[in-house]
Amino acid sequence: MRFVDEFRDPEVITKTAEEIRRLAEPSRHYRIMEVCGGHTHAIYRFGLKDILPSNVELIHGPGCPVCVLPMGRIDDGLALAQDPDVIFSAFGDMMRVPGTQGSPLEHKARGMDVRIVYSPSDALKLAKANPGKHVMFFAIGFETTAPSSALTLMRAKAEGIRNFSLFCNHVTIIPAIRAILDSPDMRLDAFVGPGHVSTVIGCRPYEWIASKEGRPIVISGFEPLDILQSIVMLLRQLKSGEAKVENQYKRVVPWEGNRAALRAMAEVFQLRPYFEWRGLGFISQSALGIRDSYADWDTERRFRVPGVRVTDPKAAQCGEVLKGVLKPAQCKLFGSECTPEHPVGALMVSSEGSCAAYYNYEHRKAMATSLAWPA
């Protein structure tokens, strides 16, 4: 498979891993955050932790859209869809995310009209096919998915499709990185930057991380070799005492981003003054709302949204895990009350969430190792 196999070549990967071992100074401990959930998933899936030296530690970042969505927003969306004339549509990613009364899938089993769509334009098609119903698209994601939401609303407006609205939960990545860097208990050396988001926003928005915060950042692809190469690039910067933005994912990410996508986002969305992130709290100017000119397609203005606020169970330490202060297994609920089948915190829901990834790919391996060789 082109663009996949060449980035999974075992020989090249072994060589790159050797390069990492050569570059990592034994006396130093490196804490590198991979911002994006896609990277977290790939790191576990390909067992990359096993081939990194023990002093190169990867910390999982906030870049999992499902994980940072407050439970109250899910409750709000599902509350509106209690109306039998409303169809609730969302990506498959959302379907198992628990609200206080259960996930969208559980609501579907109880009779709610819940549909999995593969893009917001499919949700718009659903609206055209069901003129007697109102189709709500529960939009989640960073700048990766926001342009397709924007284009869909532009199309709905152009075609005058009135039985469609977007429940906008789009967030932006830069304020989340800032919140993590501002966190007093955080000590990070460098960042593996998000690949998909950067196809839209380009590399410039990260420049402050290097110039003001003095942290190297490398925008990375999602194949094993991409991630390892990015770590090599970061270690080289750290070795030479540099901090700059580099682009490892040049085959996809243009330095300036995607202008057409940014234009569509600017046409439809504006920054909200503030937005709640699960685990991180309220972050100012960190999310997208829908402009007045598209108010007719804004679920939150078309309907009376209950505005539910749900605090996470006190024992769940999602925030600390999300910021990289705690490892998933250090949370009190991990693996006992909170499992992928019965998630308490959102990090356990998405396979890109660090807790689910850790649980699925590492947890039992670690348990067995500690059983086999008691410390």
Binding site: M1, F46, D50, D93, R96, I116
Partner: protein, 355 residues
């Protein structure tokens, strides 16, 4: 619920119902961890008591002194027809395969139809013909059946339940508890074809691929393998819903050992791999309808593999790993780079990841 295994129907101490979910969700039928919890936590304690055998693909019953394999399976497929097969053909081969991987020759099948009022007769006729043809090819007799019709909207066109009887092949006895560390894991061919074909056939994705379901009877392959390596065969399973990952996790839990797989030995067609990459799915969790897994004692592994490879339809059979002591109860896969990860059972239905 393929194959609960009472031998005989239990009259022993009642076991405790452990199933606490307030209602049935789709995940309870998806063949993964929730299905297992439902069966082990609710059905088994009430119906079989505390001493039931591990859940297999079919049950063993005694009829007039003879051991007979019996299995039943309900088919709810959407759409009814897809590239490579249809519900009628699946209803035969699914049951044939459950008997085959229990080490039994499929002998006869009875079928029950639940039909939705308004179902076009030509659709029904096509499925009856598909059943007849599949039964003829698999060498199994359709001995009888029953038909019910429900109101329009009370079912999705048609459901078929088939129950099959089989006679055990001499010289083979499959039981997960006979599996030992060092045993080899064999796979009959490429995985994921059926699940991805169905996903694409539902038409919700604007994706086209040149792909067909792998649905077929695996009995000829099982028979060839039993002939050459019968005494060495410890366990077999057709990895349908939940895929190879779920079947092997069930084995690991039932035998209390670990299954270690080698990633790059597992055959996956490029089209399946591509679709899985695109949708964020793992081919190991995707359903199959014409493949099976076998665990074979090491000294019989090459005999068994050769027997498969030399039988029509088994040319792509491979050894994909072995059974080890640790981590007990888990499936571990080693990637090409020497890293490893745990492969868990499927949780719920496989859902595509987009964002």
């Amino acid at each position: 619920m393929a194959g609960l295994k009472p031998e005989p129907a239990a009259a022993d101490a009642p076991a405790k119902v452990r199933f606490r979910d307030p209602q049935i969700e789709m995940a309870h039928g998806a063949g993964g961890i929730a299905s297992r919890r439902l069966i082990e936590g609710l059905f088994a304690p009430i119906l079989f008591g505390s001493s039931h055998e591990p859940l297999g693909d079919s049950a063993t019953v005694h009829v007039a002194g003879a051991r007979v394999a019996i299995t039943t399976d309900c088919f709810v497929v959407k759409p009814l027809k897809f590239a490579g097969g249809s519900i009628g053909e699946l209803a035969i081969n699914g049951t044939v395969n459950d008997l085959a991987v229990s080490g039994a020759r499929p002998e006869s099948i009875v079928a029950t139809f639940v039909l939705e009022a308004g179902l076009p007769t030509d659709v029904l006729e096509a499925e009856i013909r598909a059943m007849g043809e599949a039964a003829r090819q698999a060498g199994v007799a359709i001995a009888g059946g029953d038909t019910k019709v429900v109101e329009h909207g009370q079912a999705d066109l048609m459901y078929i339940t088939t129950t099959g009887l089989g006679s055990f092949l001499p010289g083979v006895h499959v039981n997960p508890r006979s599996v030992r560390s060092g045993d080899k894991v064999l796979l009959s061919g490429p995985i994921g074809d059926h699940g991805i074909t169905i996903l694409l056939a539902r038409g919700e994705l604007d994706l086209d691929a040149d792909l067909r379901s792998d649905t077929r009877s695996v009995f000829p392959l099982v028979e060839a393998m039993v002939r050459e390596a019968g005494p060495g065969i410890r366990w077999m399973r057709d990895p349908t819903r939940g895929g190879v990952a779920t079947s092997l996790n069930e084995l690991a839990r039932d035998c209390g050992l670990s299954v270690h797989l080698i990633d790059d030995t597992i055959p996956v067609r490029d089209t399946v791999r591509g679709a899985c990459e695109l949708l964020g799915l793992d081919p190991l969790h995707i359903a199959n309808e014409g493949q099976f897994l076998a665990v074979v004692a090491p000294e019989y592994a090459n005999l068994a593999l050769n027997a498969l490879c030399q039988t029509a339809g088994g040319e792509a059979a491979v050894m994909i790993g072995e059974v080890c002591e640790q981590p007990a109860g888990s499936v571990l896969i080693t990637t090409e780079y020497g890293g490893s990860r745990i492969i868990d059972m499927l949780v719920g239905d496989p859902l595509p990841r987009i964002c």
